[in-house]
Point group: C2
Chain length 91, copies 2
Amino acid sequence: MKTDQQGWQQRQRPPRLERRVDFEDYAQTRAFLEALAELSEAADLYPDISFGRTYVNLSLQADADATELAAEHNDLARRIDALIAPAPISC
Amino acid sequence: MKTDQQGWQQRQRPPRLERRVDFEDYAQTRAFLEALAELSEAADLYPDISFGRTYVNLSLQADADATELAAEHNDLARRIDALIAPAPISC
């Protein structure tokens, strides 16, 4: 998996976190989307996602009337990060 | 499943077919994306897709240097249509 080292970009109007991830092939892209769907359902938060064969763009938006992102958005962003670069196994 | 009755829109620059589909809930959206992934792999054609909790936007683009869509793009579009509105079972 090739990752974008920039990580999440915070943007406004509406407040949101955006991130792009690139993959080697469609199998990797699909596996990532599948894991992401599990996280979304668990958090009951559904990012706007666009993807093609080897890329995924994520946008995590604040709720309609909110002026900033909630803690749950940041939590989900961290969980998505963990999918992209799993923590090393400590022995 | 709520479907957009407009079906596919043909657009240019680049030549492409676009379609939006709306769903009742995330479970339907996810099932559609899963079936779409199977079709994409079988056809070795990967539409650009954007989706949120209850919608999917599809864009099937011609190859980089092509001036029009190939038969395989139209075939995939028909197969996607079949996912959205399965043919009635004839007795």
